[in-house]
């Protein structure tokens, strides 16, 4: 499809702005003015709408496709939460209003949303308190590591490194690193869990903490969590819970009850807010009592008279970590989601997420060896090494699925498993959809036996197939103007 810039016609205009109703009282001095022409596209509103409508139709999406992306929790995004987020009383609210004297009176509804969400997330995770400010999971991790640093500093601890299992998501080591820690990676054992002996080997007084995803990215709930946390706490390390996989254990296990000191959650995973083609999300962070005083400001407080306000006065706080109160419109959707489901509905969520994953695992394990042959949690992990031996790699199976209208599972993650195919069906998909996926996977397996070469030009039904990624990286055409200059 043509770029919108390529559709530009000199002099065309797509939008009608108000005429000015004020006299011109000043001009900007020439030296402050831009010299370069502002080469935005010149198109009509119809051009814009048609262009983006057509573009959108080139996407797979949850609204049209099954998306069994492991670790991503691509569950249905309830439509009513979009309606809630569009209410002008929320959408038009300026974030500085509550910082005006008397201004918090005009944002009571919004503050109540924040306050309740914090309380409920605390109850869900067994944490003492929450901050909703982090703008995504990785941002939550960074915030969490900063909280850990503040804790250690206050305790006079000299900590240097953070331990991260090799199965961890890339954001874990990256977040710890940007916060100034060294990373020590610890290998998994044969059951997919952290190898406790190896963990012991790296734990020292310089260990600031351990970041764990629980259940981990192998889809396994680590039954040794109690022991692990004892070991980490023994060196005054902190247990960090990456909550990306919370969808497996709602109402079944709370990180706060099993030894974790702080958590981040991904509202765009467990709490059904949309992924938006890569964002925005929200990554609230919860902490146990010993970390509470370090939480970022502002904090939402409810006065005895029921009025809410923002409290900035916490001397031990790590300070501002976001400009305001988090991705409010995302938090609002998650709040609406929790209101609708209630405690029971949330627990059911995990029940069926886990049921669906185990069902898929059992239906497929004869065709695709499972990485860890045991009950899985909300996602299951296959390996396509056998297929790869015939020249059909995980990515080829992924591309085969695209032609079936199915978004591929996560492939090549976690890094611990060769030719990983990581499948997370979520609780919102029906058995018919799971069976449709199973059938497609079984057909792929059969085809891999009979005609492995066929895979190389999948997908065949899409407008493009197998882009040349090397060329992209070499040419670095990332800007319409530069590439045409």
């Amino acid at each position: 499809m043509k770029l919108i810039f390529e559709q530009s016609v000199r002099g065309r205009q797509g939008f009608k702005l108000p005429d000015s109703d004020v006299p011109v009282t000043a001009v900007i001095a020439g030296k402050y003015l831009r010299q370069a022409e502002l080469l935005l596209p010149e198109v009509s509103e119809l051009d814009v709408v048609r262009h983006f409508t057509r573009l959108s139709r080139l996407n797979f999406s949850l609204d049209a496709n099954f998306y069994p992306l492991g670790s991503c929790t691509m569950k249905y995004n309830p439509k009513f939460t979009e309606k809630a987020a569009a209410m002008p009383g929320f959408a038009d609210l300026h974030p500085l209003l509550p910082q005006l004297k008397g201004g918090e009176r005009y944002v009571q509804g919004a503050l109540e949303v924040l306050y309740d969400t914090e309380r409920w997330l605390s109850e869900i995770t067994g944490m003492k308190a929450f901050t909703l400010q982090p703008l995504a999971g990785a941002h939550g991790e960074l915030t969490g590591i900063m909280l850990m640093a503040a804790y250690h500093k206050a305790r006079g601890n000299k900590k240097k490194h953070i331990i991260v299992p090799d199965s961890a998501h890339g954001t874990n080591p990256a977040s710890a690193a940007v916060a100034g820690y060294q990373i020590i990676s610890v290998a998994s054992d044969k059951k997919g869990g952290i190898d406790i002996e190896k963990l012991k080997a790296v734990l020292t007084v310089e260990t600031a903490g351990l970041m764990m995803t629980c259940p981990d990215t192998h889809g396994v709930f680590n039954s040794s969590i109690g022991e692990i946390s004892r070991l980490v706490h023994a060196v005054d390390g902190l247990m960090y819970y990456d909550g990306a996989n919370l969808n497996a254990t709602l109402g079944r296990c709370r990180p706060g009850d099993v030894g974790f000191d702080l958590v981040h959650l991904n509202l765009h995973k467990t709490f059904g807010t949309p992924h938006g083609g890569g964002g925005p999300g929200a990554g609230p962070v919860g902490v146990m009592g010993k970390l509470e005083k370090f939480l970022p400001v502002s904090r939402v407080v409810k006065r005895p008279d029921g009025l809410f306000y923002l409290d900035y006065g916490h001397p031990d706080s790590i300070g501002y970590i976001a400009s305001f109160y988090g991705n409010f419109a995302i938090i609002l959707r998650a709040y609406a989601y929790m209101l609708l489901l209630g405690g029971d509905g949330l627990k059911e969520t995990s029940d069926h997420a886990v049921l669906n994953a185990n069902y898929l695992m059992h239906r497929l394990k004869n065709n695709y060896p499972v990485a860890f042959d045991r009950i899985c949690m909300h996602e299951c992990l296959f390996s396509a090494t056998k297929h790869a031996a015939r020249g059909v790699h995980a990515i080829d199976i992924a591309k085969f699925l695209i032609d079936q209208g199915i978004h591929p599972p996560t492939v090549y993650f976690p890094l611990t498993v060769k030719e990983a195919i990581m499948v997370e069906p979520t609780e919102t998909e029906s058995r018919e959809t799971l069976d449709f996926f199973v059938d497609a996977m079984i057909r792929a397996d059969a085809l891999a036996r009979t005609d492995p070469a066929a895979f190389h030009d999948f997908p065949r039904t899409m407008p493009i197939s197998r882009p040349d990624e090397t060329r992209a990286a070499r040419e670095m055409n990332v800007n319409f103007f530069a590439s045409r200059a």
Binding site: D21, L40, P173, N222, L355, P467
Partner: protein
């Protein structure tokens, strides 16, 4: 009842049979009794109707119908209906990160266009596909400058948003970075001061244009000086202003960031917003965040992919240029729609309207006895006024008269208690401006 679960009782039985267990509970065997929640005390669920009613009540507690003259980096611009219409297409908002290019060309091409639009606005060579928001984008720029230069000192203009400065400080608390904030002189960057600070340790000078006081500036001289001592210059910019103002590229800036909220996003009580970043081409491999690049497919058809992924955490882990993963993709697409709708002429017109309305307000407010408007430094669509008493109190009284009158600078700047920061966008009418002035005149009288 959870209406988002499809399994029926019958389905559950069938599936348990396939798995070979008796109950769903059996699937949770790894979670031992000692791991069971000590409490899980949440409200009972509601129906969709009840939730919507409850939220409607909460939303109605917010709308004070205050006429907004408040900005501070976040502005009450009109969001064209077409922006919302396109964003509400499930194909955009319920898609995942475009890791599989064959089924993500919509998002990928839209992000490529977004990057191109940001380059058009800023004049820079390359832009990424979004960061969280303007504040964190500036933080990322600073981290990038530290990496690129290998230095540890940051000079930051006091005209940079105090909110941004605060959060950058939080992030770098443990990073052994030396921060020097320079004061503002007549509303603009204090040249003498910056110049005195320049040395071989400075990684970057951070400026903002228009700055937090709404004042515009030409930082070309500062850039020259910084470059001379091997430092980078980072500019945080307000995109609407770029419809008229000298671009950071024209000043020679190395890294440009900004808050994209004004590009068609609602105020949303603070987010989601859109952090943008654009850099000189030479810096592209140090840039954080996703970047979409053009290429061709196996049959030679043009297409788009996430590129230079070796910078990113999912490949490079602790050595990545940033920890960012989920970003603000949908907001970037929305900004792209906004830029296309405005177009070359409209965008300029939008900037001009903002400038003209603010200038009119500045004149009208300047006529109020006791209110002083500094006219020495040029401003864009926001400016400060000096009031005869504490601006916070004045604002409180103005609220009762129906106006969100601006942001009292005393909150973030010591000794500026009587200063009020007033923003005027294209949405404010002449009569609203005059009514505001009349109310203010009463309040300060």
């Amino acid at each position: 009842m959870n209406p988002y679960i499809a399994n029926t009782e019958q389905d559950v039985q069938t599936m348990l049979g396939v798995i070979g267990v008796d109950s769903i509970d059996a699937l949770f065997a790894d979670i031992r009794p000692e791991h069971a929640p000590r409490s899980f005390d949440l409200p009972a669920g509601l129906s969709e109707f009840e939730v919507i009613e409850r939220l409607r009540r909460l939303a109605s507690k917010n709308t004070g119908a205050l006429i907004p003259f408040i900005g501070g980096g976040y502005y009450d611009h009109y969001v064209p209906a077409a922006c919302g219409a396109i964003m509400s297409r499930g194909e955009f908002y319920t898609a995942y990160t475009p890791y599989q290019p064959e089924c993500s060309q919509g998002t990928l091409q839209a992000l490529f266009e977004y990057q191109s639009g940001i380059c058009a606005l800023t004049g820079m060579d390359v832009a990424n596909a979004s960061l969280y928001d303007g504040g964190t984008a500036l933080y990322e720029a600073m981290m990038m400058a530290l990496r690129v230069t290998g230095r540890k000192k940051i000079v930051m203009d006091g005209g940079v948003s105090p909110i941004y400065r605060k959060l950058i400080r939080s992030y770098t608390h443990n990073l052994h970075i030396e921060f020097i904030e320079t004061p503002v002189a007549h509303g603009q960057t204090d040249r003498a001061c910056v110049s005195a600070l320049m040395d071989k340790d400075v990684a970057a000078v951070i400026i903002q244009n228009p700055n937090f006081f709404g004042v515009i500036d030409d930082h070309a001289d500062i850039v020259a000086q910084a470059h001379a001592s091997g430092a980078l210059v980072i500019a945080s910019v307000y995109p609407v202003a770029l419809g008229l103002l000298k671009t950071p590229a024209e000043m020679g800036v190395d890294i440009v960031t900004g808050e994209g909220q004004s590009l068609g996003l609602p105020l949303n009580f603070g987010g989601p917003y859109l952090g943008f970043m654009a850099v000189r081409r030479a810096l592209i491999r140090q840039m954080p965040g996703r970047i979409v690049g053009e290429t061709v497919d196996a049959q030679g058809r043009r297409c788009f992919v996430n590129t230079l992924q070796a910078r990113e955490q999912h490949i490079r882990r602790e050595k990545a240029t940033s920890n960012i993963c989920t970003n603000a993709a949908l907001c970037a697409v929305q900004a792209s729609v906004f830029m296309a709708l405005m177009g070359r002429q409209g965008f300029r017109q939008l900037a001009q309207l903002n400038f003209d309305k603010a200038e009119y307000a500045r004149r009208v407010l300047g006529n109020i006895p006791g209110v002083e408007v500094k006219r020495s430094s040029p401003t864009f669509n926001e400016f400060t006024v000096y009031l005869p008493r504490d601006a916070a109190d004045v604002v409180e009284e103005m609220i009762l008269r129906g106006f969100a009158a601006g942001f009292p600078l005393g909150r973030y700047y010591e000794g500026m208690n009587n200063y009020l920061l007033v923003a005027v966008t294209e949405k404010r009418t002449k009569s609203e401006i005059e009514a505001y002035a009349a109310a203010l005149a009463e309040v300060v009288a």
